[in-house]
């Protein structure tokens, strides 16, 4: 019965050939055209074929014409993981780790993917602040250049095999086993390294690419502690910084920004501010925020520090220029007048300079008040001479095995070439770096460690302040934690995750405490402020040594870190590379910063001549210069930055990477982006110097494209845009800003009645929620954390250097930087930073010009964009007085209806590979699913993070309560370490925004208020603790009326 078969025809019964063929062709996949073997055009078309052709071609034309966006299918969970609700974010406390840097963060995880980091507000030193690098680090997780598996001798290998090989090789090692890492703040990792080395002859070297060993050694000499103390800027009324960019790159800027802000918040009824003196050679971001800034040559720093030491002791000041002398005396007077409330810091890596700094701090009573030895900073522990000794040992063949973790000396050691040579003399080299970077390439084994968001761990950035690291996603690739490898090679059976658990459960006394610690992310024990015993024995020698340093003649070079990219450890991060530098406003490259004097002499560009200044500023092609430093030549474009000491040049580190670092570091022509500046550092036998004398620069006559997002430097006295005054003036009359505003508006009813009387039209009531933002210019330092936070939150596309150079940058939030003063006198330069974003005007000029109403006003005061309605006329962007609207000039996101239109775009409009990198399926995992990815041809702009507002309102609604203040925060607000941005419902009198506006009503102003566009963003005028306001906002050699005078007294 089972074999019974029915047949339909005799041919089937007989299984004839004809039948076989027919049955095989029963459902032919090709169109059954006849005679197409002669080509479709010559085929004899029957009537039926004609109809087929017609039908097919119509359908094909329809399919082609409909241009439907390719659908990417998302596969739903078959079995939903527990505790995971699709569309609802989870938050995990963890820690940002980069080298020694450790900042407690909260990771937002959507559908299993970490997409955004916020600061952990429980931390007593970061207070929830972040830096641009912290914000950008989530993108590194999805970096396409990360190694996806271990490698042994250049080929993929699995870990068991490597372990087996290494067991043999470790046994055969003759000579030392050295573990070379960046500073390790993790107590467990340190233990594991110690245990690993305990069984072998070896040592652990910590190498900091940006080292503070001069400080550490100075502290050892004067305080007997080989460490760096905490600095309490919040307790300092007078701050003197010698080149230390403590708001941008020096030690822990998040902590310092928060502390510094305490002295920059102004009470309008009792106005006082801290006073910040900066002595430096190049315009750092911190210097840009200083109340008084004095420039000197880099080689004069020791003399200037000595001068301050003399001055605070009441001795006469010698050996410095007159202008610096004046500054030193003023600073000393203030420091002495505020004993116990002063703080002096220096960026110098010179032991003697730092010893004298310590001596000054001792004289002014900083030890134990603004300098806290109870909680030393542990983020920088490297000693330069130890690294130098290691390299010598490697060269001598004394090192048998080198394990490299978290550091990349071939690139970031001052003599990387020598290190690379030395590395080849080591038999067994193992790298744990996450990619084939400059050092890993030369190592025999690469065992990539996971990203911190995939890892377990802990960190102790300050003694007594612990921060936990926990995974937020399953490891994306076949990575293995460095610690796991060491544990295995030590012979331990537990994994690092178990180790952490055991360690912390024991340390905290129980499971529940451990779970609590993981939830909070931090464990803190010590909050005291104590000093340390000061031993002045070394001071006299140090003073003498400083005095013996002769100021060099001629040009000098300063190597510095960019505020965004820092030391270059996140060198392949497109968000950081596209983040404009706060001072130069340039993206993507490094360059030589030159003073206006050098520009005039060597490049024949005189910024005081309008024509030449215009030419320089409107052309993206900047002169290409060749700098020679100790026989090393570097060719880079120049940028002229006022405020740079006349004979000083500066180049940033972090650029000029190997192509294996990733797709973002290679320019369109295949060369690296920028040049590596680490080789321009020098070693003085004790510490690494970040400045060099005897430098020459020459004009190559060639030009090089530099992508700046802002080219004009001065605010042209437009006080409707920037309002600033001095503390003295504000103390004399705290209505000085208010009165100026009143003058501007008095034709239209004055401040009180401006809203109604500034227009012919009746005003409509605005009940319910009315979102508003207040930005305090006094506490915006320009660091750009908010900009990167905005990029991450709102899926702002990366456009690459070529597009930025064409002024096609897409940032929704930018930080405008204006200089004023005389460009030929660097000490006169004053800087102001103004975060500029959509002002959400209630009477928005963009809204009424859109022909299709794609941009319109919400009942909550939001100026909103309807992307799918936008047809891209760009009229709104033209009519925006703030120029905050951004147009999608090309298919930056891959969201376009047109296929294959991203690359290549010949000549004009060709995009960089980084744009495609950002569209890689891996990188796209970082996208925020709550925010539309915009397609080509539409305008976009700041939305006040409307997705967060909706989420907050929904949450309140579900909990059946009114929206509370603080329920929602914008991404920029949350990222700011200085709390410069306040956001909330301005209709709620209890909200912080209402309070800030009421408490600062004498400083509140709106940019371009007289236009009657009625912005929902207000600024708080900048009050400087300076003697005067330079040239009323104009960058010009001529002296202008310094008095605050509104430019627009009448406006129609």
């Amino acid at each position: 019965m089972a074999n019974k078969k029915y047949w339909q025809s005799f041919s089937e019964l007989n299984n004839s050939d004809v039948h076989k063929e027919l049955s095989e062709n029963e459902f032919p996949e090709s169109l059954p055209f006849e005679g197409t073997d002669k080509g479709l055009a010559n085929a004899p078309a029957s009537r039926r074929d004609f109809l087929k052709y017609l039908g097919f071609s119509t359908a094909a034309a329809m399919a082609a014409a409909s241009c439907e966006t390719p659908v990417r299918k998302a596969i739903p969970y078959v079995n939903k993981p527990e505790n995971l609700v699709p569309g609802v974010a989870d938050y995990y406390a963890t820690t940002y780790i980069s080298g020694g840097e450790a900042i407690p963060v909260i990771a937002k995880v959507r559908d299993g993917r970490p997409i955004k980091l916020e600061g952990n507000t429980l931390s007593s030193f970061t207070h929830g602040g972040t830096t641009a690098r912290v914000q950008a680090s989530v993108l590194d997780l999805y970096d396409t250049a990360r190694l996806r598996h271990a490698k042994a001798n250049g080929v993929a290998a699995d870990y068991e095999a490597i372990d087996k090989t290494l067991a043999e090789q470790f046994a055969a090692v003759s000579g030392e086993v050295v573990v070379l890492t960046s500073t390790i703040t993790s107590p467990t990792t340190k233990d594991i390294i110690k245990n690993f080395l305990a069984k072998r002859a070896g040592r652990h070297i910590q190498f900091d690419n940006v080292s503070h060993s001069g400080m550490i050694l100075a502290n050892e000499a004067t305080y007997g502690k080989k460490a760096i103390p905490s600095y309490k800027f919040e307790s300092a009324k007078v701050i003197v910084s010698f080149g230390a960019d403590f708001l941008g790159t020096w030690l822990n800027p998040v902590e310092f920004q928060h502390g510094y802000t305490a002295g920059k918040k102004l009470n309008q009824n009792n106005p006082t501010l801290n006073k910040h003196y900066q002595f430096e050679s190049i315009m750092t971001m911190t210097g840009a925020n200083a109340d008084a800034r004095y420039t000197h040559k880099p080689s004069e720093q020791a003399a200037v520090v000595n001068a301050l030491y003399s001055a605070v002791k009441g001795e006469s000041v010698t050996g410095v220029s007159d202008s610096v002398k004046e500054g030193v005396q003023k600073a000393a007077a203030e420091l002495n007048a505020n004993k116990g409330a002063g703080l002096v810091v220096a960026n110098s890596n010179d032991v003697n300079v730092q010893i004298v700094i310590n001596a000054i701090n001792e004289v002014i009573g900083a030890n134990g008040t603004t300098i806290n030895w109870a909680a030393p900073q542990l983020t920088h522990q490297g000693i330069d001479s130890e690294m130098a000794a290691l390299v010598a040992d490697m060269e001598a063949g004394k090192v048998g095995a080198l394990l490299i973790y978290g550091t990349n000396p071939v690139y970031e050691y001052f003599d990387g070439g020598r290190f690379a040579n030395a590395l080849s003399k080591v038999k067994l080299t193992i790298s744990f770096n996450d990619r084939e970077d400059e050092t890993s390439q030369l190592c025999k084994f690469i065992l990539p460690a996971p990203h911190f968001l995939e890892s377990w761990g802990d960190a102790e950035p300050k003694a007594g302040s612990y921060s936990m690291v926990q995974p937020t996603i399953n490891p994306l690739f076949k990575t293995r934690p460095f610690q796991d490898s060491l544990l295995i090679w030590t012979g331990a059976t537990e994994t690092y995750a178990d180790y952490i658990k055991t360690y912390w459960t024991a340390k905290l006394g129980g499971d529940s405490n451990y779970i609590q610690a993981l939830q909070d992310g931090i464990v803190e024990t010590n909050n005291n402020v104590t000093g340390a015993a000061f031993n002045g024995g070394a001071v006299a020698t140090a003073v003498a040594a400083n005095a013996a340093k002769k100021a060099a003649a001629g040009l000098e070079l300063v190597v510095y870190q960019k505020v965004g990219l820092g030391d270059g450890k996140n060198g392949n991060n497109p968000w950081l590379l596209e983040l404009p530098d706060p001072i130069t406003r340039a993206t993507w490259d490094n360059y030589i910063i030159v003073s206006p004097q050098v520009a005039k002499e060597t490049f024949k560009i005189d910024l005081t001549k309008v024509g030449q200044a215009n030419d320089y500023e409107i052309n993206v092609m900047k002169p290409l210069a060749k700098v020679t430093v100790n026989g090393k030549e570097v060719e880079l474009p120049i940028l002229i930055i006022p405020g740079t000491e006349a004979e000083t040049l500066a180049i940033a580190v972090g650029f000029g990477r190997a192509k294996e670092i990733g797709r973002a570091v290679i320019a369109q022509d295949g060369t690296p982006v920028g040049k590596n500046a680490y080789p321009l550092l020098s070693f003085n036998g004790n510490t690494v110097d970040w400045h060099t004398a005897n430098v020459s620069i020459e004009n190559t006559g060639k030009k090089f494209k530099v992508a700046q997002v802002q080219t004009h430097n001065s605010y042209e006295g437009r006080r409707e845009v920037i309002k600033e005054t001095t503390l003295k003036e504000f103390q004399a009359d705290n209505k000085v800003i208010y009165n100026e505003r009143e003058t501007e508006l008095h034709h239209f009813g004055g401040i009180e009645n401006f809203v109604e009387e500034g227009t012919l039209y009746p005003q409509l009531p605005k009940p319910g929620v009315k979102w508003g933002m207040s930005i305090d210019l006094n506490s915006c330092y320009g660091c750009g954390a908010c900009v990167v936070a905005c990029n991450a939150e709102n899926n702002v596309p990366v456009v690459g250097k070529q597009e930025v150079a064409r002024f096609h940058d897409m940032h929704w939030l930018r930080i405008d930087r204006y200089f004023s003063g005389n460009p030929e006198d660097p000490n006169s330069i004053q800087t102001v930073f103004q975060p500029m974003l959509c002002q959400h005007c209630d009477n928005a000029p963009c809204e009424n010009v859109c022909p299709v109403a794609a941009t319109n006003h919400s009942s909550e005061g939001l100026n909103q964009m309807t992307y799918n309605r936008c047809i891209g006329t760009r009229y709104c962007a033209n009519n925006c007085p703030y120029k905050v609207r951004r147009f999608n000039w090309a298919d930056y996101t891959g969201a376009d209806s047109f296929a294959n239109n991203q690359q290549p775009l010949v000549d004009e409009g060709s995009m960089d590979d980084v744009v495609l990198m950002m569209n890689d399926d891996l990188t796209r995992m970082v996208l925020n699913p709550d925010v539309t990815v915009r397609s080509r041809g539409v305008i976009e702009k700041c939305s006040f993070c409307v997705q967060r507002l909706q989420e907050g309102k929904l949450k309140a609604k579900k909990e059946n309560r009114p929206l509370a203040d603080g329920d929602v925060k914008t991404a920029c607000q949350q990222a700011c370490a200085a709390d410069a941005i306040v956001f909330g419902n301005a209709n709620n009198p209890e909200s912080e925004i209402s309070k800030v506006r009421a408490e600062n009503n004498l400083r509140v102003y709106h940019a371009l208020e007289m236009l009657h566009v009625l912005p929902n963003v207000n600024y708080l005028a900048k009050v400087r603790n300076s003697d005067d306001i330079s040239n009323s906002g104009v960058l010009s050699a001529e002296k202008h009326e310094p008095k605050t005078k509104p430019a627009a007294e009448a406006h129609h």
Partner: protein, 482 residues
Amino acid sequence: MALKYESHVRGPLVEGAKDYHQVTEDIVRPIETNPSRLWWMGFIISVALLLFGVYSIYRDVTYGIGQWNLNKTIGWGWDITNFVWWVGIGHAGTLISAILLLFRQGWRTGVNRAAEAMTIFAVICAGQFPIWHMGRVWMAPFVMPYPNTRGPLWVNFNSPLLWDVFAISTYFTVSLLFWYSGLLPDFATVRDRAKLKWRKFTYGLLSFGWTGSTKHWQRHESLSLVLAGLSTPLVLSVHTIVSFDFATSVIPGWHTTIFPPYFVAGAIFSGFAMVQTLLLIVRKVLKLEDYITIEHIEVMNKVIVLTGSIVGIAYLTELFISWYGRNPYEIYAFNENRLNIFSPYGWSYWLMMACNVISPQIFWFRKLRRNIVVTFFMSIIVNVGMWFERFVIIVTSIYRDYLPSSWSTYYTPTIWEIGFYLGTFGLFFTCFFLFAKFFPVIAIAEIKHILKRSGDNYKQHWVEAEKESLEKFYHDTHQDHH
């Protein structure tokens, strides 16, 4: 329909001893003979340019507006400059056909057909720019107020861009109807003369069955008057509305109440220049020197010097008001962005001044007005100047506006931006060459209308004509049509 008296000092508008038949022969000849080598050359170059323009637009649509060098500060550049320029050029045609008709200007008959054709083609070219400058041109129908399924979503009637949509489409429709209705009797003439079957058929269709009956003529005349009445306000309104794109904005340099009259004068100015350029070529190539005479050229040169001076006054008024208004942003826009020749775009302002205000003043001299070479040269200069006027208004206002942080780098067009512009030239001349080949480039019927008054051989009999009784004169002139 015509005045009895015409001044003796005015030269004849039709030269050579023409009679009615000769007029028809002269004007229809190009249609009935094979095009010359010159025509072919011009036509092929035009089509080549057109194709280049099509490719430029293809790139813009496929790859994005990033194919152009516009940027975050300069949202409009060559695209809208070209748009305003082409729209302006169109104005002369309407002015000639409508306003001069109402004012009974006999000289218009020699040039109105070609000028109206120019209007139609210029508006077609102008329309390309607002369409293809859109980031998502496939969504362009959103600008039409039609019932839709998107809820209460409607167009934004506050937007000057939307007013443009209505203004331009109305203008185009009325101009087209006006032009076509004028063509009817001439098409019939071609039809009646046709010896080839296809020509008879085609022109038969085109002429809508025109028989030349009195009833046809009477309706034709009425329709002309009605359409002239409709077109007259359009001459003023279209460019007024185009100027609102700028005048209603908040940008210093755009936000100016003088724009509407200033734009209209400028449009007529550039339109006449373009008419001159075209007609000087046409009369040469098609040997129509007898119909488009030096008189015509001189009259149009007078219009050019008049409108050029109006435009000049407008420029000076703008400067005065910016100073008088004491608005520092406006003062900066005028003094620094424009007047200052050393500022990045200062050269474009002074180029505009030289071309539009200073150089047309040579037409105060009769000799120069009547010099064909000078006129041709000047007609080009004026259109270069008027192009720069729009460029100055658009680009020099926005490239440095309120916030100095957003002041732009130097804007130069890409090859595709230029290609788009050249493409519209291709489109314009392709249309114009086809028009010159297949359509009577001069209104035959209207020339005949004035022949007995302004024709060379009739003008000699003026003394006699003056002695004629009024009744006889009317009788004669009303025979004109037949």
